[in-house]
């Protein structure tokens, strides 16, 4: 018992050591490459503090766009996934097509969105939704299809209406997997948004990043990367907490798409 406790303690320590190791590596790379091409962690943090107020607008803009597009992607993804998943035939028919769409590099389609929407917020939202909706849809579809038969029999034997069945049985049953899908969808929405902003935009974090790239200011570039990574980690962490809560309530989910 005691040895397990110390093991867990060391694992905790190990987990916290990873960021420290990354910082040390960063410093070493800086020592090797030198100042004009690379910035030390210290410089980047100073840059981050000094420019924070200037970047606030871009951060807010990116976060707002991200939230809107994630909301749209999750609502449509869940609805489509759920209703396709109810029918085994359509699941079997549509899932290879959806998986194919999921696997293509969607960034290359961004110019088409630009041609349709122009350099607008709608264009970025539309692209971000397109970038992140597929995992939500695919996982929701698979989860709905694989709801155990015995649950459905229970619903029939209670003579539940469809709404009751969805509310009391189907939705709770797909919840654990759905959270995993939402997490992946969120990451992809964010990635798509940043890519879109980097390619063509006049606001947002991705735009700032490209701006500093052209000015060749490594400290600012790294500071913005820190912000992006922080946002990504924060939300992923929240999703993982939600996932854990669900797993405690319902049981561990088994999702194959990693």
């Amino acid at each position: 018992m005691n040895s397990i406790a110390t093991d867990q303690k060391w694992q905790k320590v190990g987990r916290y050591m990873i960021p420290v190791i990354i910082l040390i590596l960063w410093q070493i790379i800086y020592q090797i490459i030198g100042a004009p091409a690379m910035a030390s962690p210290f410089h980047s943090f100073v840059d981050l503090r000094e420019n924070m107020s200037k970047w606030m607008g871009d951060i807010g803009n990116t976060l707002l766009t991200l939230l809107i597009s994630f909301l749209i992607a999750s609502i449509f993804g869940v609805i489509f996934g759920f209703f396709i998943g109810l029918s085994p035939f359509w699941t079997k028919t549509l899932s290879p097509l959806l998986l194919g769409l999921y696997s293509i590099p969607k960034v290359t389609l961004y110019p088409i969105f630009l041609l349709i929407f122009g350099l607008t917020l709608q264009g970025r939202v539309a692209f971000s939704v397109f970038h992140g909706i597929f995992p939500i849809m695919i996982i929701c579809m698979e989860a709905t299809r694989t709801v155990p038969n015995i649950y459905l029999k229970l619903a029939t034997s209670y003579r539940m209406s469809f709404i009751q069945k969805a509310r009391q049985i189907l939705i709770p049953a797909i919840m654990p997997q759905l959270v995993v899908g939402l997490r992946m969808g969120f990451s992809l929405c964010f990635l798509g948004l940043i890519l879109g902003e980097m390619f063509a935009s006049y606001e947002g974090l991705g735009h700032r990043l490209v701006h500093y790239m052209s000015l060749n200011e490594p400290a600012a570039i790294l500071a913005i990367i820190l912000i992006i990574v922080f946002i990504a980690f924060l939300f992923t962490f929240l999703f993982l907490l939600w996932q854990e809560k669900n797993e405690m309530k319902i049981g561990k989910s088994k999702v194959k798409i990693s």
Binding site: P105, S187, I221, L222
Partner: protein, 249 residues
């Protein structure tokens, strides 16, 4: 051929047909969309162009292949480490989940200063982007081998090397292969996205170049090429994967 296969083909064909007619009849803006048949013709024309083949297609193919192979090799090695050591597995577990949340493309300028200009920084991004899928699936595959298989090996007094060769790898292979399939998709995405935004070579670059020069035909033909490449790779690997799972069940 099942009914769902027919419906699938019908969906794709109808979509392309409607799109073709809509662009031909100018229902859709001809400054935004080009007909599908024109895209195909342009793509074929591009592919018969020596310069395009050498400077863009060849480089992209090289970058994708190298980053994919690197991801598979390093991913399996790291996956094996995570399988043998519970300690390291527990430490890295949460970070592997976070890996996809990082936009690695943002690191490209830093990689340029580390590795110099050329294909190498692009390869590194593709590799970083695709490796986690292999790592997690390898670790998972080895960890979920049925106990009875390991017992068979142990009762036959196999050495560790023999265990690896006859028990562990064959049993874990389907899951590892799923990781490899994902890695192929991700390295295509990583390489082409990096070229698209930041590089000055490759198929991804031709798309952004064509877009910036209002060359619609060039843009759509390269986009189509990218889509075709990723669909073909995915389809072939998917077939192999299905075979693997059928054999193992």
């Amino acid at each position: 051929m099942g009914l769902h296969k027919i419906v699938q083909i019908l969906i794709v064909v109808t979509f392309l047909g409607v799109y073709e007619i809509a662009t031909r009849m100018h229902w859709l803006d001809s400054f935004t969309f080009t007909p599908f048949s024109t895209m195909v013709l342009n793509m074929v024309e591009n592919l018969s162009n020596q310069e395009y083949l050498k400077n863009h297609f060849g480089i992209t193919a090289f970058e994708i292949l190298t980053s994919f192979l690197g991801a598979v090799i390093f991913g399996i090695i790291i996956g094996i480490i995570l399988w043998r050591s519970d300690f390291i597995h527990h430490i890295f577990q949460p970070y592997l989940m976070l890996f996809y949340a990082i936009p690695f493309f943002a690191l490209y300028p830093i990689f340029i200063s580390i590795f110099g200009v050329g294909p190498f920084p692009v390869i590194v991004i593709g590799l970083l982007f695709s490796m986690p899928a292999v790592i997690t699936n390898t670790a998972l595959g080895f960890r979920e081998i049925r106990k009875v298989l390991i017992k068979v090996g142990l009762s036959n007094n196999l050495s560790f090397r023999q265990m690896l060769l006859y028990i562990y790898f064959p049993a874990a292979w389907p899951l590892i292969f799923t990781g490899i399939k994902l890695a192929a998709a991700y390295s295509i995405i990583g390489v082409i996205a990096t070229e698209f935004i930041l590089s000055a070579r490759g198929i991804g670059y031709t798309i952004s170049y064509a877009y910036n020069n209002f060359d619609l035909n060039g843009m759509y033909s390269s986009v189509l090429l990218v889509v075709v490449i990723s669909l073909v790779v995915n389809f072939v690997l998917g077939l192999i994967e299905n075979k693997l799972y059928q054999r193992n069940v």
